[in-house]
């Protein structure tokens, strides 16, 4: 399970009104929990030092952090491990990863109702458009830099991607 699935899951839980979700998938166990309801604490005295006015609303309790597996300090668990290494994902076929050159929102097709640029099994060559990453209202086409066969598409439409995030697995010629 990669970071983005976790993000997506977080968003879904946040919007669902459900207070706790637990997922087990192979060795990975992920628990997402939302806040205990926040309570107004009646507190006399100044709410903010140095003459600041009281806060308009009580501060919400921060959400419980996502239970990433075993975050050791000595060798921190890589939170943004590429999905290839995550036990939850099916073992990808051997190949080369094509990674995101920028941060933005991924689109696999030129328009919502259009066919995707590439599907697993497609042959690609240098210069072929693989996807679009939207950043700051600009649609940036990501072009292929090698010839080969697409083995896998790793992200989903309109999903946010970060720099260096694997997008495709390609079997180069």
């Amino acid at each position: 399970m990669d970071l983005d699935r976790i993000k997506e899951l977080l968003r879904i839980v946040a919007e669902s009104g459900v207070s706790e979700v637990e997922i087990e998938d192979g060795d990975l166990r992920l628990i997402v929990r939302k806040n205990a309801p926040s309570v107004t604490v009646q507190q006399p005295g100044p709410a903010y030092p140095f003459g600041w006015p009281p806060m308009a609303a009580p501060l919400p309790v921060p959400a419980a952090p996502v239970a990433y597996p075993a975050p050791g300090m000595q060798a921190p668990a890589p939170v943004q491990e590429p999905p290839a290494a995550a036990p939850a994902a099916p073992a990808p076929k051997v190949g080369t990863e094509i990674r995101a050159p920028i941060v933005g929102t991924y689109y696999g097709a030129p328009a919502p109702d259009a066919d995707p640029y590439v599907r697993p099994g497609d042959r690609v060559k240098p210069g072929d458009v693989l996807c679009i990453i939207e950043a700051m209202k600009l649609m940036n086409e990501v072009e292929c830099e090698m010839s080969g066969t697409i083995l896998e598409v790793l992200v989903e439409n309109s999903q946010p991607v970060e720099f260096d995030q694997p997008l495709f697995v390609i079997d180069p010629d």
């Binding site: 637990e22 309801p37 507190q43 903010y48 309790v61 050791g72 000595q74």
Partner: protein
């Protein structure tokens, strides 16, 4: 004049005292058992003397070995910390005999306050409110029953020499009195070798509120406000805060005055704590006086901007205490981080700490003697760190503590951090609605059991 202080203790409080001594330009001597060779109090003291094997009775409780260590190192004062010999009147006396300044009250005061009946009588005579009950110890069931009838049920039968809940029985109605009285007395005899008990009114829904005082030994006493210590599990405090969410200016003044009256009556010297029970109607009763620094003293330091250890030492040096108005600012909370598994009945979890990363930043204080690689010995108590935060008000302090606990990484042993996180998120805790029995009702959610 004090120039070199021997610290007759271990763990975080030994390090706490060493730090302030060094900041005051005083030399320090650590004593340690063979189980504590790798503890930070040994590392950071100017000198360290091994005094015995791991068992406390052969090391930290041995008068002769500690005094010999003071002699060979030329220490001119002994700070006892808390626990061990801190409230032992004979140790205070023997230090006096050897012309070594005991940083704490004189033997008579310690003895008097250590005897619960005598302490209560002394306080009552000084005009401090006490729980209605027997004057002194009750030796037979019949006179006990008479007193109980007079003050009204429910009553509590308590060991005179007791502590930690042993020799303590609540009696709801007269029919049960004889049986409960005999059980309390029997437990007291077994636990303390002293079966004497007293009988008093049982205060329901009480909060444990204590007042920090400091006396100069000549009859002047000042107070530093209160601490709320109602979050207890089997009489063991787990979280403390200052101020109490239910104590207002007027109540604080009344409790402070009472604490000062009591301490002045015994010409109190040094740091002490007067513990009160506060009932739901706002009435408070003297419980006992602790004649030492407390584990939870940092919350008072944070809101009153004081170094209580430095204050203890200055008083011991004979520095006069100037008059000062109490000024409490902000709100401080302390969480005791124990090597215990809160999901298994707080069972001790000794062993090697593999990873230790304390939280930091604005308003966060950590008092600890441990580090990555430290082995928690099984011979002593399980507290491995105190996490203290200060915020502008209680709400902000709670949020700061949640943030700090969330950053605290301890691997290799179980700790009470998950307990504190759940407690601090509890609506009743956030609203300040709790008493000393709150943790009996509090349901801890075990994350490992969530899916089962």
């Amino acid at each position: 004049m004090i120039r070199k202080v021997l610290i007759a203790n271990r763990g975080e409080i030994a390090l706490r005292i060493i730090r302030t001594c060094h900041e005051m330009g005083l030399r320090t001597v650590a004593v340690y058992s063979t189980a504590d060779r790798d503890s930070l109090h040994v590392r950071f003291a100017d000198e360290a003397v091994c005094i015995g094997p791991p068992a406390s009775r052969d090391s930290y409780l041995r008068f002769d070995r500690i005094l010999a260590a003071a002699e060979v190192t030329g220490a001119d004062a002994i700070h006892p910390g808390y626990g061990f010999l801190a409230e032992n009147p004979d140790f205070s006396a023997i230090c006096e005999d050897h012309h070594i300044k005991f940083i704490g009250p004189n033997p008579e005061t310690i003895r008097m306050m250590g005897d619960k009946s005598l302490a209560k009588d002394t306080m009552r005579d000084a005009g401090v409110p006490v729980v209605p009950g027997s004057k002194g110890v009750v030796t037979d069931v019949e006179s006990g029953r008479g007193i109980a009838a007079e003050i009204g049920y429910p009553v509590i039968v308590k060991a005179s020499a007791g502590g930690g809940g042993r020799g303590m029985r609540v009696v709801q109605k007269e029919e049960e009195f004889a049986r409960q009285f005999q059980m309390a007395s029997g437990e007291a005899e077994a636990a303390f070798g002293d079966g004497s008990v007293y009988v008093e009114k049982f205060v329901s829904s009480p909060r444990h509120i204590e007042v920090q005082v400091m006396g100069d030994g000549k009859g002047r006493v000042i107070h530093f406000g209160e601490r709320e210590c109602s979050i207890q599990r089997r009489h063991q405090k787990l979280l403390e805060e200052s101020p109490s969410p239910v104590v207002d200016e007027q109540l604080r003044a009344r409790m402070g005055d009472a604490a000062i009256r009591g301490a002045e009556a015994v010409l109190y010297e040094g740091a002490g704590t007067v513990e009160f029970l506060l009932d739901a109607s706002g009435e408070f009763y003297f419980m006992e006086m602790n004649t030492r620094i407390q584990v939870e003293h940092p919350v008072t330091e944070e809101v009153t901007d004081t170094d209580l250890i430095a204050a203890q030492i200055l008083v011991a040096m004979g520095e006069p205490m100037a008059a000062a108005d109490l000024r409490m600012e902000g709100h401080a909370i302390e969480c005791r981080i124990n090597a215990e598994n809160p999901f298994r009945g707080f069972s001790p979890s000794p062993g090697r700490i593999l990873t230790f990363h304390p939280p930091g930043g604005h308003g966060v204080r950590v008092d600890t003697h441990v580090y990555a690689g430290y082995v928690i010995p099984p011979h002593y108590d399980s507290m491995i760190a105190k996490l203290i935060v200060r915020g502008a008000n209680r709400d902000m302090a709670i949020h700061k503590m949640l943030r700090a606990l969330g950053e605290f990484v301890i691997e290799g042993v179980q700790t009470t951090i998950p307990f504190h996180l759940q407690l601090l998120r509890h609506p009743d805790f956030q609203a300040g609605r709790f008493d000393t029995r709150f943790l009996e009702r509090f349901e801890l959610q075990d994350p490992d059991a969530a899916g089962s």
